[in-house]
Amino acid sequence: MADVTDAFERASDAVGEARESAGERALGGDDRGQLMLVAALAIAVLLVGLVLTLNTAIYTENLATRTTDTNLDGAVAHGGAVEAGAGTLLDEANREGGTYGELADRFDETFGNWSDAAATLAAVRGAATDASYVDHVEGTRISQTDAARNFTDRNETADWTLASDVGVRGVRVNVSRDSLATSRGSAFELVVDDGTDAVETEIYRNTTQGRVFVAVEDAGGTRTTCSVAADAGDYVTVDVADGRLNGTVCDPLDAVHTDLDGAVTVTYRNAAEAEGSYELYVDETNATVFDATKYASAGSGSSPVAQEALYAVTVSYVYESGETYVSREVRVAPGEIA
């Protein structure tokens, strides 16, 4: 520093001959350089301060445009998982059979296990969850497990009504490809009728191509089809409520949801033209639905069977994370029609 100041001193000596007096020298050129330096530093500090202020403004703007509403994604996803899990376990519990009391106890216990496992897994993400069984709706499971039998009733009547004026859910058919009729006219038909409108689902095959067709005639009488290729296995599954043919989306089946309203009647026609297994659930008790001319009792070894089953369950769940608390009751009836 001293060297620089001396250099300034020499320079000002050479230029300003007039300011030679000692008094002027103390305030003059000798110290001006140093003051300029100090002023420059002060301006630098100001600029730094300005940058900091602007930076804060940008950051504030960023904070302000972030979503500030309560994040419910976790709660919504958990609610979906509860419904899906309870639905799967409900049908699993139903398939094992028993009285309404036994079924409810089995579902309660199984769902309790599910809740424990889900809570342990969710705890890692900082969420406390709990789910429990609340109530159920008694119903009937109509099913056939003998894959080599046709879809006729117990007395082998080909055109028969499975249940009248009922809520229906979970209609699933697993049909043998070779047993199907080769033309639509004589094909096996599943009719769901709500009294004013009816949706008819026909299943048949094409002998030359070997494809299996599902033709759906909606309430307006329009017929649309979807099909499965010949090499897709000996059995073809149709999930009517889920709208799936062999696991692939079959849009025409959506008619059972869009065209029907309220209680329905389920009827089979040309039931001798299809062999395989099927199941569906209706919301009337087994005492009402069971008819010895149509059905065999559970455990008799004959088909088809009508047995006690839970049509729907009500479950409650709680989801609590740092910022949210969600408590809900949901009714679970997987694959409900109309």
Binding site: D31, V48, V51, L52, A81, R125
Partner: protein, 210 residues
Amino acid sequence: MTVARAQAHALEALVAAMVLLASVTFALQVTAVTPLTASTSSQHIENQQAAVGDGVLTAAAETGALKRTVLFTHPENGSFYGIDARGYYVDGGPPTAFGAMLDESFSDRGIAFNVYLHYLRDREARRTTRLVYMGEPSDHAVSRTRLVTLTDDDALTEPGTSPGGDPRAVETPKTLESVDAAADEEYFVQDGNAGPLYGVVDVEVVVWRM
């Protein structure tokens, strides 16, 4: 003269100290403000990626594609189909409908993802299996999860094709119950419950920009 110069020196020292402190403060501020500054990521993009992750998981769970992918294992050794000795997929999703959804949503857009399967052993010890592992996620990765319920009657799946010709997982006759009972067959989750519930698997998707 000497007096005036000392004052200037003192002032200069003070200002220099302030500059030094301000620089340190500024440097600290800069590192804290990653969004919207010169960073590869921003909060909005993270929100967007998290939402897409949620959407993919929800859609896959709704169609059953998620569960079929979780069950996409060899019955002999419990490992996934079409992977090498590492035990997980590295260059994209598995050859299933869920894998195709992941590829289309993320890796085709230059976004990396890992998929982990968390489950419980003996009903309390949490275990994790990697399904897809593209590497260590960066600091601005986001994660989304979805619970999948497995029952005793759920069947393992194997490679197949959809009517459109795309690879997907198709069901085999082997149920989890039968695989658990057979001595020479296994699945990576064990049956932890006496009832029809087999187990619960938490599928976690971690997403980040490459």
